[in-house]
Every structure is written in structure tokens, then in C-alpha cells.
Symmetry: C2
Subunit: 252 residues, 2 copies
């Protein structure tokens, strides 16, 4: 294994959900914004925006929408947004129609821009000895989220990030053995679930150490459990909500 | 601005399209795979896979599909794949139905897993003084790509990465001024395209320095030009291709 500061931080990544009661200073913010901006961008379209939430009422509203108590609490809250509005506006003000901004193709490229920028900022955060937790819940109720942020059509919240000075030191969460996720030449379609038995034990031990009061699940129990079982959720409305934002309109 | 090795590398990021004629060693590969695996993952589902292309014939085929001469040439080629097949198989072998794996919700989460892992690996690459170029073209013809890689239903190629020892030192490509992409509290819906005049000049100068034989475009000229103008492309078929892979089946 090769070691340097960047890689060691990546290999030691854990989500932080408890932060000290401080916020980022201007220099830290400016650095994170510059990293956000310098991320690779598909076709140089720069289809991502970053919102730093400041207003306490807005934080409270977002916390309710995300339904996670650490959202907008100690530390700083950021929302990463797919943004096709900016380029639509540029076209409009220069007398052009919307062109391809409503296509799934362009939405995909904007998702790429936004999520690459996300992990780039995340790595910058950890390089400053800060921590973060990704907030997938920012699109549980995307239209209400967009209204709260006063964002226009052709934008969509992709991921949130709560950032701060860590006030906890969680165990490292063990990932699948590399032979299940990283392939030299040939993908393995024919694995046997029994090969995951040792990993299941590792995951069970991890949960046991983390909190002996919580239900302890192996990896395969999680995959065969409630998360992926058929059930109704607000997130079933994602396609309709994207359409309401005038995104992916070519989807039939 | 805060400076450390991670951040300095991020702020100096440029795509590398010309590599020396060497390949990664085993230790480098193992490190990149470990970084891939330790990336944040939505609901701990680990819905991403990484394929390192080895076979010269496969490289050639992929180069043709991507239609970029540096793809699969000097250096190493990786394809980052949304992978819901693995978890479907776990469920199937343990006697469960497919559950929610065919929903847009779960596909979105898998896109997040895959793209965060992408940028994490990208940062590890640059921390080793290697370079890379992102290959969005791996899903120009996704079904042929999947066939080439012998990948099953419920997988989808998201981004490729050509990695290696840089054999060029391109100019840094100037990004939009931060006030257009990073917002303190309030998103700016009401910008005037005239505010981009200085940036347009910076972009024009960049292209002029890079290659005086190439057409020189400002940023707003690119956004109002062919890239986003209405036209037919193979990428219009993305929705249909996702459906053929049994992804996002709830999309109406």
C-alpha cells in the first residue's frame, strides 16, 4: 500500500455526525469553494452549484426535511446542486432557445459535475482535519428543499454535507473485500453469496463494537432487508419531481 | 487560501491526455482499489464497481466506442460502473425478490456511490504524481460497452479514467468566478450575462495559449454553441438504454 497524507486520509474516512460548536472561517470557505470550482467538468459546462446555508430558520427547515438531528446543527451545512439554470439563462439572455438543457444526457453530465465536486470538497475538508457526513436525504423532498433554498427550475439538490470539527471518533466501517468491487480485466458475475460469510462476520463485529444497544446486522442481512425490500417511499416520486424541475424531459 | 498537499493538487488539477509508456504497478493498483472501496456509500449498499481493462483487444474496442485516441493507449484504463447486479444476486441467492433495485431512487444512490468513488480515486492518482483524464464517452454507446466488458443487467458504465505518468503539462483551465457557482446563503437567480465578460476574455486567452491553431471560444460562446444546441446524438438513447439494463424501471 502506498501512503501519503491524501491517501491516508481517504483510507481513514469515516462519517462524522457529532461536531464541536464552531463554524468554518472565511479562509476555509474560500478554499473549499476554489476546490469545488477546479473539479473536472463534463464538456466544460460547469453544471454544479454549491449553497452554504446561513440562515438559522432555513437550517431548521432543512433539518426537518432531512429528518436527521445533526443537519444544520453544529458545524456548517452545504447543499450540492445540479444546476442547468445558469447555462439556460446564459443562452436566454443571448437570444438562444434552451437547446439540450432539458435532456437526460445533459442531466447525467450535470450529476457527474456535481458529485465529482462533492468528493473533491470532501477530501479537502478531511485534509484540513475536519470531518463531514454526506446527506442523501436532501432529495427525500426535493421540491420543498428547492423552495426553501429559493432555487429555480432546472436545479436539483443532489447531496448535502454537514462539515465541522469532529467531536467523535467512530470505528472505521469495513467495506466489501476488494475482489467483490474491483476487477482485473474480468467482472465476476458468478460469485457465491457464501463467499461473503467472513465479511458478514466483520460487519456484525463492527456494529457490535459501535453500539451494543443497536440491532446488529451483517452486510447480506442489510441487502436482503428493509432498505431494498419493496415498499412505498417519498423517493418513489424522484422521476416526477425531476420532470417538475424541467429536467430529463426526454424520458419516456 | 489554505495550502496543503491535497488541496494544492486539487487546485492544480488539469486533465492529462498524453502519458508516458508505462503502466501502474501492483502496489499502486491495490492502493487505488482500497481508496475506491473506502469512499462514502449511500445506505451502505456499496453499489459501485471498478473494472481495470487489461486485454489489448478490449482496449482497442473501447477506444473505438469512445472515439478518443488516448483511451486505452499509454497508461491504464479504468471503467467506473453503477452496479446493482451484485446486490440483486445476493438477494436472489438468499431467496428474496429484486425489491427496489430497479427503481430510480436506488439508481440515483448508485450514481452517487460511483461518482464519489471516481473523484476519490482521481485524488489518490494525483497524490501519487500521476495524472488522468475523465472519459464521459464510456456511455456514448453503453450497451456495446457493457457487451465488451461482459457485464450483466443492472450495471451501467458511468465514467472512464485513463491514468498514467503525465507526458505533458497543460495550462490550468480557468473556471467560472466563484460568485457564479458558490453561494453564501442565497442563490443568485438574477445575474446578468454581461457580468461574464471578463471571464470570457480569460477563457479566450486560455485557448489562444493552448493551441493557436484551434478555434478560440469564450465560455458563453460554448454555452450558446453546438454543445447545447438542439441536435440528435447517440446519447439521446440513454433513457431507453437504462431501461434495457433494467434500471429506473419506475420512470414513466
Amino acid at each position: 500500500m502506498i501512503h501519503n497524507k491524501t491517501i491516508d486520509a481517504q483510507l481513514n474516512h469515516r462519517s462524522i455526525r457529532k461536531f464541536k460548536d464552531t463554524t468554518l472561517n472565511k479562509e476555509q470557505l474560500e478554499t473549499l469553494y476554489s476546490v469545488f470550482a477546479q473539479t473536472p467538468t463534463s464538456m466544460f459546462m460547469q453544471n454544479a452549484s454549491l449553497i452554504h446555508i446561513i440562515d438559522p430558520e432555513e437550517k431548521k427547515k432543512i433539518r426537518e426535511l432531512c429528518n436527521q438531528k445533526y443537519v444544520g446543527a453544529e458545524g456548517d451545512l452545504f447543499i450540492f446542486v445540479v444546476d442547468l439554470y445558469r447555462n439556460q439563462q446564459i443562452r436566454k439572455q443571448l437570444g438562444k432557445d434552451d437547446g439540450r438543457v432539458h435532456t437526460t444526457d445533459i442531466f447525467f453530465q450535470a450529476m457527474e459535475d456535481t458529485l465529482l465536486a462533492y468528493q473533491n470538497v470532501a477530501n479537502a475538508v478531511e485534509s484540513m482535519d475536519l470531518g463531514y457526513v454526506p446527506l442523501g436525504t436532501v432529495n427525500d423532498h426535493p421540491l420543498e428543499m428547492l423552495k426553501t433554498l429559493d432555487l429555480p427550475k432546472l436545479t436539483f439538490p443532489v447531496l448535502g454535507m454537514q462539515v465541522g470539527v469532529p467531536d467523535q471518533k467512530p470505528q472505521l466501517k469495513p467495506r466489501l473485500p476488494l475482489q467483490f468491487t474491483c476487477f482485473e480485466g474480468k467482472y465476476n458475475k458468478d460469485f457465491d453469496v457464501k463467499e461473503l460469510r467472513d465479511y458478514d462476520k466483520v460487519v456484525t463485529t463492527y456494529y457490535d463494537l459501535r453500539d451494543s444497544n443497536r440491532r446488529i446486522d451483517s452486510f447480506t442481512k442489510q441487502i436482503t432487508g428493509a432498505k431494498l425490500d419493496n415498499h412505498k417511499t417519498d423517493r418513489d416520486e424522484l422521476p416526477e419531481e425531476l420532470h417538475k424541475q424541467e429536467l430529463c424531459l426526454d424520458w419516456k
